[in-house]
Symmetry: C2
Subunit: 312 residues, 2 copies
Amino acid sequence: MPDPSPVFDRLCIIGIGLIGSSLLRGARVHGLAKTLVAADLSPDVRRRVEELGIADITLADAGEAVKGADCVICCVPSGAFAAVGAAIGPHLEPGAVVTDTGSVKGAVIAQLAPHMPAGVHLVPAHPVAGTEHSGPDAGFAELFENRWCIFTPAADADPAAVAKLRAFWEGLGARIEVMTAEHHDLVLAITSHVPHLIAYNIVGTADDLEAVTQSEVIKFSAGGFRDFTRIAASDPTMWRDVFLNNKQAVLEVLGRFTEDLAYLQRAIRWGEGDKLFELFARTRAVRRSIIDIGQETAEPDFGRRHKPPTAP
Amino acid sequence: MPDPSPVFDRLCIIGIGLIGSSLLRGARVHGLAKTLVAADLSPDVRRRVEELGIADITLADAGEAVKGADCVICCVPSGAFAAVGAAIGPHLEPGAVVTDTGSVKGAVIAQLAPHMPAGVHLVPAHPVAGTEHSGPDAGFAELFENRWCIFTPAADADPAAVAKLRAFWEGLGARIEVMTAEHHDLVLAITSHVPHLIAYNIVGTADDLEAVTQSEVIKFSAGGFRDFTRIAASDPTMWRDVFLNNKQAVLEVLGRFTEDLAYLQRAIRWGEGDKLFELFARTRAVRRSIIDIGQETAEPDFGRRHKPPTAP
């Protein structure tokens, strides 16, 4: 299938981290925009974007960057949207599509919507994709291939704006799902936010134990612990903002998690092996389903390389 | 470096799952034993072992299998050692090394030791290696390369027996650490047992939520959840036995985990972003250390293949 013709004339990406730089790379590879504008407050990030050559224009000022853009994608931490909205609001082009890639939707919309002038189309979105690495060097054009991007447009959103954004994300290889912001925030609380929280937490617990040295934790991590360190190595600012901005859903799911964990704890204390076995046998099927729909590799151990690559 | 000459004349492996079959394969590849004897209670497993051709002799009866063996390695779930001990005790060869691969050491020693006749050397061991797959087909000769194997010999263990077992494991590419059984059980509680418990638990919680469909959990699992499903797909019998047999250490570490999680929960509720950020920034360093000592891949996302391999 040939790549589609450009969906946008002038695409402006604000915040050039893992996601922002992957969007720039993907948009270029697939010819999804005629001109790529990158905006970032950090001089170091701007210099790397220029060295990498992944944008046509690189600017510090987001307000300046959105001028003339028919699509603006905000790729900043969930707590930074009010500031970005205030900076870009007065300079947005009538008819422009404004969207984002935030992991939280309710709070991001609440920050961004008040700054949208009439005639500008806000279509919030969240690509469920990423790695534990951060910054403009971590991005790659294929990041969104075969991954879901969730749109949470308001009920009265402009269908043409939603369709253009859909064409853009499908051009990157993503699949689109539409739901309310409220439901999105609950779905992501269980599939992403609480998993990150408990991964950060177990790594912290291990780091703090007095009776087991840090060297022992690290040496014997192949017993399972190292799996958790991957997502616990994710960007601290982004994740702090996720928890502060999806408080209600995270606390709700966390309550369920700790209730279930107390049940297992009690089963261990009282030697109720059948309760443990029942759960452990059931959870296998969930992984099988994830592999079957192509959202996970079937290779054992994630297909991890068993030994570090030898030096060339 | 050439492979060592055979360490053992007749090596008997009891229980041919992922670990047992990896030992048979590794011992053959590296020439670590002259004769390989496999024992398993399951007719299906014995048939597969014969079809795979990974043992010289395959038997149902463990007592029969250990006759004449100078090394016996028990690779059964942690709850099965009393039965195995009773079956093999009367038939063990004087001077034989008896060892195991159990994930728990205190309880396994308690089950096995009473059945050891005088002149037989019990050297408990635990290779910190594995995948989420089970059964004789899941094994591979390289499983133990660059992985740690922890020995927990009694203070009065025969040094020559320990040295022979060390030569065997080093022949498989493993690195050896020696510690007490009690300390082993605490170290593994944090690096393996509690991580498995919380992985099983989060997958169970996700499976049970009414407000989020199972299809949604599966579709959007790339946000972090799918990482947990790997170890939650591990063998249910083995893991039930781990928790029943390492109760004290697991409950102790689990208590610390839930205490730390309550602290994060409170920080989220009260919007204390600095407490979250402090932890999230600290945990990155732990992963870096694990990568630096070669116990984890440095590739983003475990080096996962982004798309399922296309059919040939």
